[in-house]
Symmetry: C2
Subunit: 548 residues, 2 copies
């Protein structure tokens, strides 16, 4: 080590501390490498720490134990069709996909369960299969597609001390415990600012800043990035995403550092218009841009969403990722995004029964993001007034003149659907996902629910009398999922689509193998753990770089 140039040396340097980074670090360490992790935040765990903590793992051991057959051909077809619908060709050997896109999906099927099993075997993770409130293993997020075949049980979580499934905090706790116990050096408050290469172009380390001090880290074998997306970088969001977003629940450090650093050394970017998305409470996001304000589930039954015309525009019980995609509808007569802001509308029943489930406040607590009215007309007027207050931050987005009249008609139409149990407009509640994932029993204990004789418990007529409530929603992200392109070894590719020696990536900082889709619960962390595992496995046998 050239002590005049490097402050630290390690075999494998890992940037970030979420699921992707931890998986790479732990796997590399388990194979004998000396490993250092650099995290720019004061907290360890990245976006995983704030997440639900699930990981979508096809063909996992729990499925096998339950006798659920999860064949490669089925799983790959499902992923390929959902991720690349316009290319999908069932008769083609690669299903119509370009080579690298197909490779990543095929590799994902082959490796995901291996990766989790490995992490379990070395004691880094204790996994458990999600069983939902109806007592069944979970379905996927696009279980409607024929290629999905309704296969259940792909969603795993970490198991908490109580033997039950636990959130992302527990997953990070388990990973961090293993890292600490096995000599992985984890440095917080270290912001990596530059990737260092030698004359040949091999990656040999990074520069970081810590408390205004520049620190140079030598990596003799490889640098692995698992540093998150660019949700909290407004310029990158504006310049790459497919439409307007209002933030997201990614950790505050998700500012696209890797996009810049990898871009500076000629990495090829991809999927930059892509994200894992969910609607977000506009006013909370404007007030507190780094907080968690996504609306993952439209909870309750006497509740729906309408756009600026007062019209429903989708099945409110569909998955959050695809629901957020419905916000990107361009209006050629107004030169604006029709559904940029939409309105969750509900009555006192839902406000009471599902209170405390975000964004529904606990009754009696202050909730400035909730707009109310004693009548639907009053509610419409209040929404309009609120939008006017927000105009400077929304491009002057406003309600159509017909909003109030249409809203009343929409209530009538929705109520008739709720009465018959059938929604011919958007088929709400017709699918397993709608009934099991996004419709839970009330949060108020002791409530008898579903109502006796309910034909479709995802819907219930809104009350004939007020008060009524509304929350303004925009599109948001969990995090973006575009960045440098990787190959099936998790190596970062250059603009000639060749690996940049010594550079790996996984998680939301790279062009996700999922593209713009969300295969099932844990479609974020599943690939993060899996390609992190591949990065770790492949980094260890890397030749030692000779340096500058």
């Amino acid at each position: 080590m050239d002590t005049s140039r490097w402050d630290n040396e390690t075999d494998v340097l890992v940037v970030g501390s979420g699921a992707a980074a931890c998986s790479a670090a732990i796997v590399a360490r388990s194979r004998g490498a000396d490993v250092t992790m650099l995290e720019k935040a004061t907290l360890f765990g990245g976006t995983t720490l704030r997440s639900g903590g699930g990981f979508w793992i096809p063909n996992n051991r729990f499925q096998k134990e339950k006798g659920i057959e999860d064949r490669k051909d089925d799983a790959v077809r499902y992923m390929a069709r959902y991720s690349f619908p316009q290319l999908y060709n069932p008769a083609d050997p690669r299903l119509g996909l370009p080579e690298n896109e197909y490779d990543l999906i095929s590799t994902y099927y082959d490796t995901a369960s291996t990766a989790v099993n490995y992490l379990e075997e070395i004691g880094a993770v204790k996994a458990i299969q999600e069983i939902n409130w109806t007592g069944r293993p979970q379905v996927d997020y696009m279980e409607i597609l024929p290629e999905n075949k309704g296969i259940r049980g792909r969603v795993l979580y970490s198991m908490g001390a109580d033997g039950k499934m636990a959130y992302g905090g527990e997953l990070i706790r388990q990973l961090k415990t293993w890292a600490d116990g096995h000599g992985i050096k984890t440095l917080l408050n270290h912001r990596v600012t530059r990737i260092v290469r030698d004359q040949k172009g091999d990656v040999i380390g990074v520069e970081a800043s810590s408390k205004d001090r520049q620190v140079r880290f030598r990596a003799t074998k490889a640098v692995v990035f698992g540093s998150g997306g660019f949700t909290h970088n407004p310029e990158l969001m504006l310049r790459f995403q497919r439409g307007p977003h209002f933030g997201g629940c990614a950790s505050p450090g998700s500012t696209g550092d890797f996009v810049y650093m990898a871009g500076a050394i000629g990495a090829q970017l991809g999927n930059m218009a892509g994200a894992f998305r969910a609607e977000i409470v506009l006013e909370q996001a404007l007030q507190d841009p780094k907080g968690v304000h996504n609306v993952f589930y439209v909870m309750g039954d006497s509740i729906f969403e309408v756009n600026r015309y007062g019209l429903r525009f989708g099945d409110e019980k569909r998955n959050y990722n695809d629901r957020a995609m419905t916000h990107f509808v361009w209006d050629p007569l107004r030169a604006e995004w029709t559904n940029m802001l939409v309105f969750m509308v509900y009555d006192q029943r839902t406000a009471t029964l599902w209170q405390g489930f975000p964004p529904l406040p606990v009754q009696g607590t202050p909730a400035p993001h909730v707009i109310s009215g004693n009548t639907l007309d009053e509610l419409a007027q209040s929404i309009g007034a609120r939008l006017a207050q927000l105009a400077t931050r929304t491009g002057g987005f406003s309600l159509d003149a017909g909003f109030a009249a249409n809203l009343k008609q929409t209530v009538g139409r929705f109520n008739s659907f709720a009465s018959t149990g059938s929604d011919p407009d958007f088929h709400r509640g017709d699918f397993d996902y709608d009934r099991e994932w996004t419709t839970f029993p009330p949060t108020v204990p002791g409530t008898k629910w579903p109502p006796e004789g309910a034909r479709n418990y995802t819907m219930y007529p809104l009350s004939e009398t007020g008060p009524y409530f509304a929350v303004i929603l925009g599109a948001g992200t969990l995090d973006t999922n575009g960045g440098p392109i990787i190959n099936r070894h998790a190596q970062v590719l250059n603009t000639e689509y060749k690996p940049i020696p010594g550079l790996y990536g996984a998680g939301d900082c790279i062009a996700s193998p999922t593209a713009n889709s969300y295969w099932g619960g844990g479609s974020t962390i599943g690939p993060a753990l899996t390609f992190g595992y591949l990065a770790g496995m492949n980094a260890v046998p890397e030749p030692v770089k000779q340096g500058e």
Copy 2:
């Protein structure tokens, strides 16, 4: 010159040969620089050669001559709102835009007319203002916005030998004539493959390949790229654009070379989901991917477009760019793009009267892209059959089961609108643009049109009897308009948003100042000429680079 390393030397090297490249080359030459242009195709002129040839120039001399006041404050507000609707804030000094985005728009207003005047003064271009078929200077493409104020006359063309406005071929002829007459060296069949920098990182030349030979070009002052977008690179289209496209009318060389080359040296990309768009005839584009098959205008009156549900989804007389944006609507219940393919439907009247205006064939000539049926049911059935034949190339896109029934209802509804002259659904024909830009008199000479007493000549009832016709349309591009970000001097910026010394860009190869909008006719070539002019002007006083 180090003859062992360089094959050629020039002051300013220009890559490409369309409007942006020619403008840069001519301006640099006019200021005394030695200039070489490299074009990879066998034809000179890039996409401009195939284009309409208009250039959108606010506050131009023709407007002044006609007493049309085109104030900066108005023009900038129009551009800012249309390009960044979600950010637009009329009270903000930068109108809500990030600094560079605002700068580029402000600079565009300040420079566009200066640039064209300059090209006219040196004799490189002879300009003429467009007067449309109704005898008026043209309106803009989003004349509906209040910020537009209905200002006319921003659209200029080159003037042909007959004193009339001419297409892009004439513009290129004029530019090339000047270049040839003033000692600009223009080399065809030279594909630039790499940007060469010195130790400091300054750009000092390029490598190119010509007939399998590698040639190295030294540029002592600067390299300017005007090399087009990435329409004809399916992988970049898939990995960056906001939704599926089926090609476009960009010159075949528009394969994103600059994205890769600039990416390799650390340029910061932007607007990569953006494009200048128009619908495209699916089957022609599949058959002949490099040809011109866009549908700029939905010509005729007894004609409309429907989606897979048999429903209209917009004003068919709106501008092509925003019309194509309506194709990107995601369906969360089918995991596909609802309007990925749509159907232009018309009757014998429009087929006859507007024959020969693409995509309507001259009657009696073979037109495999036209689907027909003696009844609407038969037409629906034929469309379904045609889609089935195309399934392997469209992700199996198909008609909804209700298509035929809805189509019949849509005909009835459209016919009632046509009778009253009012389209409450999409306001077709309510706007100057609709009536003047995209509705022309019939191509058949001597036809009396508009019909006597027509209240809205953009619409006419479809015949009660067949035959009926349909053409399948998808989204396409004129060309993409994302790439490296430039500043107001047309310098290419690196990932720290600082200029890369010696590197300039203009036209479709850089992140367009227009973002995703189309300010008016010539919104492509206007910025190309203007930022090309800035590149040329700023390249000449560049210090001589010392080289490697």
